[in-house]
């Protein structure tokens, strides 16, 4: 026996859900139900339909033990979208899925199943219709009667493919809160007055309204179009012709397309013109501008300024900026690291990132003041390899260190430190031209020349990169010892 079920079918989930629940509890097979629209019935017989969801064979229901029905949340989301679809087969499809889900709990994960694939396609077209409605509704203002003050009023006419008005209405309420509006469509309408969001499923008539701001919008639309890159197919995919009749800007499309070629030829034919006088005045003014801030030659400030434009090696092309040394120009101790890291590169200052924090902690433990030290790096630009959203530190090569040595030597000449601390092999190489194993020269004062002592320790990012925590703590302790020794040597 075939059950017939009549529904309004205008996007209301509950009417289908109630009926489907009743059928399923009665154990009725999907094949045995004929889902019909009430409007069709009226059309055929001109009378009220006799049967409805409430009248599903109550006697047979009682025979069954109605077990509690449950479905995955994903199915409810799917169903609430699909009931809005205008395809007459939607209720049967939903019931098939509902029925099958009782035995196949993972049915919806089976993206290749014919029913599931069809349902997902339909869900997608509801999503698209929803999205296009949020995009292509055009409000027109209905002016308030003269002398009346109050909220501004707007009216829009839209023609969706599916019964989505009630589904989309909250979007417009969240967005257009401070104005009254009505959206009328052949598949129902919605309105908002600042208090209540009303929706109706009754078909509306197309209103005849105009808004003069549309003219400004058309001006914008025509001007933002670039005639040199005509891609009509792309436009048609995203803004199909069926929407054009309700879009104020669409009437311009044919003439914009037709005129594009001519505009381009005209652009090409016209000779480049002579610039106006103001351009020449600007150029002269720019030529008179001093090129660099005035700083006294032979100072560390002058050197810093000079280094900011350094192009001695290729590293400058990829780094943000030169990270020059900083500290008192007459500091007794100069700390030389390997190269700036990610954070140093962005901030333009040495030893400020995670490595800088380790450094500051060690200084504090040794009772040293960062402000009293001159800190700099052997290489002044950050060398790295981009990896997705991060930059992976790369060791500078000998050539890069040699190029940058020029700056380090100038810094030493100007600051004249008593003690120079090399952190890591690159700094050691830059200062001494030697490639000793760090372990062999580390943690003891080495005579550099008559006036200067060298002290070697590890570089900070090495400490941060030791994966094993126990070893890292050991190395950190050794590093802190080194810093303490530096404190003693400096005093």
């Amino acid at each position: 026996m075939i059950e017939t079920c009549f529904l309004e079918g205008r996007g209301d989930l509950s009417e289908w859900r109630d009926a489907a629940r009743t059928f399923l509890q009665a154990g009725i097979e999907p094949k045995a139900i004929d889902w019909r629209l009430r409007s069709e019935e009226q059309g055929l017989f001109g009378a009220e339909p006799v049967s409805s969801k409430a009248e599903v064979a109550p006697t047979r229901l009682a025979a069954n033990n109605p077990a509690p029905l449950s479905v995955p949340a994903a199915f409810l989301r799917l169903a609430s979208a699909l009931v809005c679809h205008s395809d007459p087969g939607r209720f049967a499809l939903l019931y098939r899925l509902f029925f099958r889900l009782q035995a196949e709990r993972h049915l919806l994960d089976l993206k290749t199943d014919a029913d599931v694939a069809l349902a997902h396609r339909m869900q997608k077209s509801i999503g698209r219709d929803y999205h296009k409605m949020t995009a292509f509704v055009r409000f027109k203002e209905i002016p308030l009667p003269p002398g009346v003050a109050g909220r501004r009023r707007f009216l829009a006419w839209f023609e969706p493919d599916h019964f989505i008005v009630a589904r989309v209405a909250p979007f417009f309420q969240r967005r257009f809160n401070d104005m009254d509006w009505i959206i009328a469509t052949p598949r129902g309408s919605a309105s908002w007055d600042g208090q209540t969001l009303l929706t109706s499923t009754k078909p509306a008539e197309k209103p005849d309204i105009t808004d003069e701001t549309d003219e400004l919008w058309r001006t914008y639309y025509a001007s933002i179009f670039n005639p040199a890159r005509l891609k009509v197919k792309m436009m048609m995919t995203e803004m199909p012709k069926k929407y054009w009749k309700n879009l104020p800007e669409a009437e311009l499309i044919p003439s914009l397309i037709a005129g594009a070629e001519a505009k381009l030829i005209d652009m090409g034919r016209r000779q480049a013109t002579e610039p106006l006088p103001f351009h020449h005045r600007l150029q002269e003014a720019a030529a008179r501008m001093p090129d660099a801030p005035i700083v006294e030659a032979g100072t560390i400030e002058a050197l810093r300024h000079e280094a900011s434009g350094c192009t001695r090696c290729d590293l400058h092309c990829r780094a943000t900026q030169t990270v020059f040394g900083e500290g008192p120009a007459n500091a007794k101790v100069m700390i030389v690291g390997e190269q700036p890291g990610d954070q140093e590169d962005l901030a333009g200052r040495p030893f400020v990132g995670p490595a800088g924090r380790v450094f500051d902690e060690a200084l504090a433990l040794a009772g040293l003041e960062r402000q009293a030290l001159y800190v700099t790096n052997a290489v002044k630009h950050f060398k790295y390899e981009p990896r997705g959203k991060r930059r992976i530190h790369q060791r500078p090569n000998a050539g890069e260190v040699e190029h940058c040595r020029w700056w380090l030597n100038r810094e030493i000449d100007l600051v004249k430190p008593k003690l120079v601390v090399a952190m890591g092999a690159a700094a050691l190489f830059s200062l001494t031209d030697r490639k000793d194993r760090l372990e062999n020269v580390r943690s003891r004062p080495i005579v550099m020349d008559d006036t200067r002592t060298l002290f070697v320790t590890v570089h900070l990012s090495y400490l941060l990169r030791i994966p094993d925590k126990v070893r890292r703590d050991e190395e950190l302790a050794r590093f802190r010892d080194d810093i303490r020794q530096i404190g003693r040597l400096a005093s």
Partner: protein, 410 residues
């Protein structure tokens, strides 16, 4: 005589159209139901119209003024050009934004400007527009501000409080290119501005000690644009620059804009048809880098001249050059390997992984997922399908390359 608002709108939107950025997505979700104001952003952006150039219109994209003291060769607004000049007042920009928004023409405002008087003066007016939209008019739509490289850090900081996105265009992929075509622009200044912005965004997103609340600062991040085809830079150089920008400054997007002829063009630039296909391939390559686990060097290795293949999409070009990595078994391969199959998108791969927990996939099943079987067939093994020697065929490329077209005689 003063030009009407309509005339100025025409001039100042014409002047803004060479900026490709149109995104209105990726910002915080917010709406006006509690505030009783106007506007919302709900995650995904909305394209309210499409122009016949195929570009979406999502924001009111205008310049505050097209007067500019810079003379960048590629730019329609450079000081030596004789385009008509105009400017909006702060109030006019606000009015246009709100009235356009109320009629649902747009998602918000994308405001840029020529440089007038000084960078700070220009930036100050732009910040004022954003501030008044937010505070006076309770506007919660999307705001994208172009930041002026030399503007003071305080102004940029204030801009980030009101704007969803901030951007600075590098326009040319190499420092040498910038020097040649935009002599007044300083590439190092642009990099420093991007660096400062990244630091600011990170600083603000750290929960504070007192309230544990994160401040909203340019929630949709920063972006930039590179012009393609104005200078001689090849695709490998351009993509290398993009990778550097993504990695260094956490950019949300790098836009590629095919150089297109401008009215009253500088004599130094080619008057060419914009290289639209090249632009498209660059976007595809950019996607492969960001979402498919490809390295830039892998993508650009398929040709010796550092250019992408215009006939084939970059993933297909890569696959044809690495046939030893195929065929891939859709029932066993891991996610990373599946993502490298030409014709499989991120969504398809998700569906495959979800489905194969319950059944073994046949070729027909793969077709059910909305995949072009013609394209993937040679590269995959399924339950009832193996490509046999298809993957080794010498003419595999011709099966995918577009058919040769006869040139029109005229």
């Amino acid at each position: 005589m003063r030009k009407s608002l309509k005339e100025r709108l025409a001039i100042l939107s014409d002047a803004a159209k060479y900026d490709a950025s149109c995104a209105s997505s990726g910002t915080t979700k917010r709406n006006s139901s509690a505030s009783g104001g106007l506007g919302s952003t709900e995650g995904s952006g909305i394209c309210h119209a499409y122009a016949p150039d195929g570009r979406c219109i999502s924001l009111l994209k205008i310049l505050m003024t097209n007067f500019c003291i810079y003379d960048c060769a590629y730019c329609i607004n450079r000081s030596s050009s004789n385009v008509e000049r105009a400017r909006f007042s702060v109030e006019e920009v606000i009015w246009l934004t709100l009235e356009f928004y109320r009629r649902n023409y747009i998602e918000g405002l994308f405001l840029s400007s020529g440089i007038i008087r000084s960078s700070d003066h220009t930036m100050e007016e732009m910040v004022r527009i954003a501030r008044e939209l937010r505070s006076t008019h309770n506007f919660r739509g999307y705001i994208h501000l172009k930041s002026i490289p030399e503007a003071s850090p305080q102004l940029i900081e204030e801009a980030g409080l009101y704007a969803d996105r901030l951007s600075i265009n590098i326009e040319l992929p190499t420092d040498a290119g910038i020097e040649k075509f935009a002599p007044e622009k300083r590439p190092d200044n642009i990099r420093q501005s991007m660096g400062n912005l990244r630091l600011k965004i990170e600083e603000m997103s750290d929960p504070t000690l007192q309230t544990r609340r994160r401040k909203t600062f340019a929630p949709a991040g920063q972006s930039t644009q590179v012009i393609v085809g104005a200078d001689a830079a090849d695709d490998a150089t351009i993509l290398g620059t993009s990778a550097r920008l993504y990695g260094s400054y956490g950019l949300k997007r790098v836009y590629y804009s095919a150089f297109s002829p401008i009215p009253d063009a500088s004599k130094n630039l080619p008057l060419i048809k914009p290289p639209l296909m090249r632009e498209h391939r660059l976007y595809q390559a950019d996607w492969l880098y960001r979402f498919y686990g490809f390295e830039i060097s892998e993508i650009t290795a398929s040709r010796p001249d550092g250019m992408l293949d215009l006939d084939l999409d970059p993933k297909l070009a890569w696959a044809l050059g690495h046939r030893d990595r195929f065929p891939v078994d859709v029932n066993r391969a891991d996610k990373e390997t599946l993502l490298r199959v030409p014709g499989f998108g991120t969504k398809t791969v998700r569906s495959i992984l979800s489905t194969r927990r319950f059944k073994r996939l046949r070729l027909e099943d793969v077709g059910c997922l909305g995949v072009s079987l013609k394209k993937v067939k040679a590269f995959i093994v399924a339950e009832d399908w193996t490509p046999h020697r298809l993957i080794d065929r010498a003419d595999l490329r011709t099966m995918f390359a577009p058919k040769p077209e006869q040139l029109s005689l005229l």
